[in-house]
């Protein structure tokens, strides 16, 4: 839930029962509740169609499979609530993975490699943020340019070849209390993003800027600093996603993260974030990521032909987004009407 959505109702105007719950949920909360309902339906249908779906091993597989997307979606949520976007995070993840592989195959320790590529990711984010703030260029286009630059560097660095990596499996293959490490990392990242949005000044400022940048400026929010900080965080998380990806598959591919940025945007929008900024929640993003992962998983389990997978995935995404919007409208019509 975002800070904007959690403003308390006026004293003496508090409806009771379901209406009170709806009011407390806010528009984003209503969207998330509707999306959760869609996810429950998908899970129920999936478990009826496939005996394997609800097994522990398979559910752990799903968490492992959505982990990289979850990390990138966390970064995208922070940016989108502030009205920003970063299309270069997938390419940044690829480049960071490639650099990590080069370092690990040299004499660098895992710690040095991790710190180095997270630093590089932050540097990329810093450049993105500085360029966007200083030039006023639309982040969609500017980060599209960055994406192309990073892809080019990745391919030039590797000669377009995949680089195998040994002795770096702990981040991608290990488990913690039975939970795959990539899922643990993604969970921590998403939790941190949620706490940042809800309980820190940076998060509240991000929501305020996304809601109304001019009013935020008048209110004294350092818009440039907030935006740059968010892009730096996004860069760091892209690097982390790249590391998890490399560790999971045991190799760094120069194009390994390409395309994930759009999946991340899709997950965040499914989760209720507005493309115009000012609205969104990490809870919604988590549901969006899980929904995408569950659909892919169950269609694979059922061995549905690729072309029909696209049809089914698109249909569920459309239903999820429409259900979320319907939840928001229902809440504004009945729960918050005066």
């Amino acid at each position: 839930m975002s800070a904007v959505d959690s403003l308390p109702a006026a004293a003496g105007d508090r409806p009771r029962g379901p209406l009170a719950l709806l009011r407390r949920l806010g528009p984003t909360g209503s969207h998330v509740a509707a999306l959760a309902l869609v996810l429950v339906v998908v899970v129920v249908v999936a478990s009826l169609l496939s005996e394997t779906f609800l097994t522990t091993d398979n559910l752990l597989n799903v968490t492992r499979q959505v982990a990289v997307l979850g990390i990138l979606a966390g970064a995208t949520t922070l940016l989108m609530v502030s009205g920003g976007i970063d299309l270069s995070i997938g390419a940044c993840a690829s480049l960071c993975g490639v650099i990590a592989a080069k370092l690990l195959n040299g004499d660098a320790s895992a710690t040095v490699a991790v710190l180095a590529v997270v630093g590089i990711g932050m540097g990329v984010g810093l450049l993105n943020g500085l360029a966007i703030v200083a030039s006023g260029a639309p982040p969609l286009i500017l980060t599209l340019g960055t994406m192309s630059i990073l892809e080019g560097f990745s391919q030039a660095t590797t000669n377009a070849e995949t680089i195998p990596v040994g002795n770096f499996g702990w981040l991608g293959a290990a488990t913690l209390l039975g939970i795959p490490m990539p899922a643990v990392v993604a969970g921590v990242v998403l939790l941190a993003c949620g706490l940042l949005l809800r309980y820190t000044r940076l998060g509240r400022d991000a929501l305020a800027i996304g809601g109304n940048e001019h009013a935020s400026f008048v209110a004294g929010i350092g818009i440039g600093r907030v935006k740059i900080a968010l892009y730096v965080i996004a860069g760091a998380l892209a690097a982390l996603a790249g590391l998890v990806l490399v560790s999971r598959v045991g190799a760094a591919s120069p194009m390994g993260g390409v395309g994930l940025e759009l999946q991340a945007v899709a997950a965040v929008v499914i989760g209720g974030a507005s493309l115009a900024g000012g609205r969104g929640s990490v809870a919604g993003t988590v549901l969006g990521v899980v929904l995408l992962g569950v659909i892919t998983n169950v269609l694979n389990l059922l061995n549905v032909q690729t072309y029909y997978q696209s049809v089914a995935t698109g249909a569920v995404i459309a239903i999820a987004v429409m259900s979320g919007q319907a939840g928001t409208r229902w809440r504004s019509d009945r729960g918050a009407g005066h």
Binding site: S50, T52, T55, D57, N58, N61, R64, Q65, V68, L126, L127, L130, A131, V133, A134, I149, G152, F153, Q155, A156, N159, A160, E161, T162, P164, A173, F217, G222, I223, G224, L245, R248, V249, G250, A251, S253, P254, M255, G256, T296, N297, N300, L301, L302, N303, T306, Y307
Partner: protein, 338 residues
């Protein structure tokens, strides 16, 4: 809201980044082993040497090895003008127009798409520029092309399927043998490979394809598909993976699930790492489909054409063999002359 000093810092940072990028570009242009971009002197600056245009379809390892082979095949006898379509059909058509506008002495096309490729062939015919196709022969009228050096993916798939059928027959028994397929992207070369594989596998009536999903030529995606495949088909015996990069992702998933001893991997490629995996018993088989040889022989065919020697067979189909532990030492090199 955004101080002058920060703007100055931004300008300096962006200027430094731009300088670094230009420096990197200049540095790479002198790299004659380079895997990407224009490989030789640009735009008709070849003096007395004939100029050969090359439209490469992608920047993946396979395509870059075709490029290396082409350079080696042409040697110093011609100037090579290379552009890359980056899997973009529109870019391929534009690249064709751009190269043909420079009036090359010959054009080599590693096409992204049959339709866009056909447009370029027609335009080159109109401009009286001889066209050579690499990897895929998609032109029905042989008089339109001066030559082609290709793989027959269907025949390769049939060889792999025949090899597996033989394995199944040799193992004896009448119980069902379960086979999974992790294909490349649908609608392209992988479809021919899979079709040929299935056709030949029919020779072993008790072998049945029980799972088939695309890995989209992406190691991470293939790893996820394999995780789902193992859940859906825990008794799987064999899996065909359309290229080695994806096969390594599948191997990771099998190892994580403790199934690497049970499920045997058959794949296609012949890279150094792939051959090593065959020798180490990680893959049951691969192939030696050398993109370097495709490029090299195309280069030689172009030189023959420019010297006025017509090839005995305009379309050369490179032989591909199934590689196992027994014959790995004799496999054609993937990205080198021998």
């Amino acid at each position: 809201m955004f101080g002058r000093s920060l703007r100055r810092l931004t300008a300096l940072t962006l200027a430094a980044a731009a300088t670094a990028a230009l420096g990197a570009g200049c540095g790479s242009s002198s790299d004659d082993d380079g895997g990407s971009g224009t490989s030789a002197a640009s735009g008709g600056g070849g003096g007395d040497k004939p100029v050969v245009g090359f439209i490469n379809g992608s920047s993946v390892e396979f395509n870059m090895c075709v490029s290396r082979g082409l350079k080696a095949g042409l040697g110093d006898a011609a100037e090579l003008n290379e552009v890359n379509s980056r899997d973009d059909v529109g870019a391929e058509v534009s690249n064709g127009e751009d190269l043909l506008a420079r009036k090359p002495d010959a054009l080599v096309l590693q096409t992204v798409n049959v339709q866009s490729g056909a447009q370029i062939v027609d335009k080159a015919n109109g401009d009286d520029v001889p066209v050579f196709l690499s990897s895929v022969d998609f032109v029905r009228d042989p008089s339109k092309v001066a030559g082609a050096v290709v793989f027959d993916n269907g025949a390769t798939g049939a060889k792999i399927g025949g090899f597996l059928a033989e394995q199944v027959r040799a193992a004896g028994g009448s119980g069902e043998v379960k086979v999974g397929i992790v294909a490349g992207a649908p609608g392209a070369a992988s479809d021919f490979l899979v079709r040929g594989f299935k056709g030949a596998l029919a020779a072993a009536p008790n072998a049945k394809v029980v799972f088939e999903q695309p890995g989209m030529w992406n190691r991470g995606k293939a790893a996820s598909v394999a995780e789902n495949m193992i859940q859906a088909q825990p008794d799987l015996d064999y899996v065909l993976v359309s290229n080695e990069d994806m096969a390594f992702g599948v191997l990771k998933s099998l190892q994580a699930a403790g199934k690497d001893g049970q499920v045997k991997i058959l794949t296609n490629g012949g890279t150094e790492l792939g051959l090593r995996a065959v020798e180490d018993g990680e893959f049951l088989s691969t192939t030696d489909a050398s993109p370097f040889q495709i490029g090299f022989r195309t280069g030689r065919a172009v030189l023959d054409q420019l010297d006025g020697r017509s090839a005995a067979e305009p379309v050369q189909t490179l032989p591909v063999q199934v590689i196992t532990r027994d014959n790995a030492a004799g496999a054609a090199a993937y990205c080198a002359a021998s």
